[in-house]
Symmetry: C2
Subunit: 347 residues, 2 copies
């Protein structure tokens, strides 16, 4: 059988490194140069958080993510919470109501059963909170030393909301950029939980299902919501760079408008990291047409967890495919995608 | 929030061992005593290969599997083939036409890119052969020593065929048991590929999508097809034991009627294994009402790969929850589920 896939891949990195899984530039290269051309064909457009698939009379949103976070448990959650919320959030920001998940486990032989049970319970409880059912799953066990305790993969299906028409191609200069809440909590919590920083801080992961906030936003602004994404690996900066590239627009961020907790800012300063590159697991970005942006923001403020939502910038005509960040004292800098892998295995 | 899950699990094994992933008795205990009660609730019935989920106006079949086979490549296929065919087959034997898959990769840092590329190509080609689209995915990278080169998880959705009404509860004494072809090819191929047996043999994995065979069977016997399953981990013996338990029936197998290649029989004799416990990746079992069993068999014989299909036994009233195997020379033995893990990581 002849298969219509390219004979040679454009991907030239000789081997896979941690950075290819970090969600930044190397990840994008791996996906754009190797995986997408072979698996999705050359006609594939920008990669969305969830695909829309037609099954008979119904349109179904469909997505999957693997979770390899280390450590398994951390303040505010665990790998089980992430596995449910992460996939539910991919459905939510694609404009779909999360409905059902399937869960697969890769377990390292020797894992104490009570640790596995704790994660099964975390999955069950996170699913109940998110209003999704667990429809099935699979378990594999590998020898000791062939995994790191437990990896979880979840796939999810959901029903696209009738009012949601989301695409980078709908993003226009003048549109406002909304952020649901403070950034960097998850990634910073994981760093602290590893004990790599000699720092005590009252901080916990923001892992949660953002669907109630997404629904409130869509109810308030309907088709004026142009695009959404949950800024996980690579953070807000990476998600906005992907949008700028996919939508062929510029993006200008007001750095002062981005909500960041002092603890996160402090930890990032110690580490020389930009909070805009730190992963979030319970936030989302939305681009909203200017005349509905204020109403959308007020709707978010009324939701649980959306109290600190903010308009953090806007879309511009130029410079295309570029994100600029304006500091409080007036300077403007180019905000790049995440490069390298300063924060391995945060989800 | 109060969560309606049992406070204590019945699962008493102190830690997870390889046998919990082998598909036999320990796997069933893990699922029935720990995972299903917590994740699926006490109301869950027998565990099917794929769940049926209602999304708006459509019924959607939904399933997922992780793949950790070692080695990654073997005669007849590779982990990429298994990942596509395994999930497509779970949909097929649930009576659904496989439609779309999402694929997630967990890659060990240091994996040569050309090995990853080979598996991406295998996925693309297996999907093309199976007639399914790849709708999306995710890639995570873990440190060297935290995985074994590459693990793949696939989730699939499909459209239930209108004529398929499959459930253990529909299985009746007198029904015939059909098997699509020779057993044990996959598991034996993996064993040989590991070089653990000092044996040269012309054998390859049976990995393939069984949907065309399933469709032919359903076209020939319609609602007279009562139940189907693909006997992967744990083999035909384990699948039939699960059926006997779930349907509260007895099952009698004519051992002579089970198609087995000489190579497989020979390797199993050397290893002291029962071919009925060896994994298959391109076969399925079907229970068909007696008056349509012959027509169903003839339909299978007309399909590519179904030439050696056979009626291997029948359903009986007694002894309930038990599988008996009658040898050619007349003796009858109890055929149990797989116990332990003689064949780790064959899928």
């Amino acid at each position: 059988m002849s298969i219509p896939f390219p004979a040679r891949s454009r991907f030239l990195d000789p081997q896979i490194e941690m950075a290819h899984g970090a969600g930044g530039k190397a990840s994008r290269r791996l996906v754009e140069d190797l995986i997408a051309p072979l698996l999705l064909g050359d006609s594939s457009g920008p990669l969305a958080d969830a695909a829309q698939v037609q099954i008979g009379p119904a349109s179904v949103a469909f997505t999957a993510d693997s979770f390899v976070v280390h450590p398994l448990r951390f303040p505010g959650g665990s790998i089980g919470d992430l596995a449910v919320n992460g996939t539910a959030n991919d459905l939510a920001v694609s404009g779909a109501r999360p409905h059902a998940l399937v869960v697969t486990l890769i377990v390292e032989a020797g894992l104490p059963s009570r640790e596995l049970e704790a994660e099964i319970r975390a999955i069950a409880q996170a699913a109940a909170r998110a209003g999704v059912i667990i429809a099935g799953g699979d378990t594999k066990v590998v020898e000791h030393g062939k995994a790191d305790r437990l990896y979880i993969t979840t796939a999810g299906i959901g029903r696209p909301l009738p009012g949601a028409h989301l695409s980078p191609s709908r993003v226009q200069p003048g549109d406002k950029i909304l952020l649901s809440g403070p950034i960097g909590d998850h990634g910073t919590t994981i760093l602290l939980a590893r004990g790599e920083l000699d720092l005590e801080a009252d901080l916990s992961s923001d892992t949660r299902c953002v669907f109630p906030m997404v629904e409130a936003l869509l109810n308030a602004a309907g088709p004026c919501v142009r695009w959404m994404r949950d800024p996980t690996r690579g953070g807000v900066a990476t998600s906005l760079n992907e949008l700028a590239r996919d939508a062929h627009v510029g993006i200008l961020i007001e750095e002062d408008a981005v909500p960041i907790r002092d603890t996160v800012r402090g930890a990032c300063e110690l580490l020389g990291l930009d909070p805009l590159h730190i992963a979030n697991e319970g936030q989302f970005l939305a681009v909203v047409a200017p005349d509905r942006a204020q109403a959308a923001l007020e709707a978010l403020h009324q939701t649980q967890g959306g109290e600190l939502a903010a308009i953090i910038g806007e879309v511009s005509q130029q410079p295309r495919a570029t994100v600029l960040s304006k500091a409080a004292f007036g300077g403007t800098r180019v905000l790049d995608m995440l490069v390298g892998d300063p924060l391995p295995r945060i989800c």
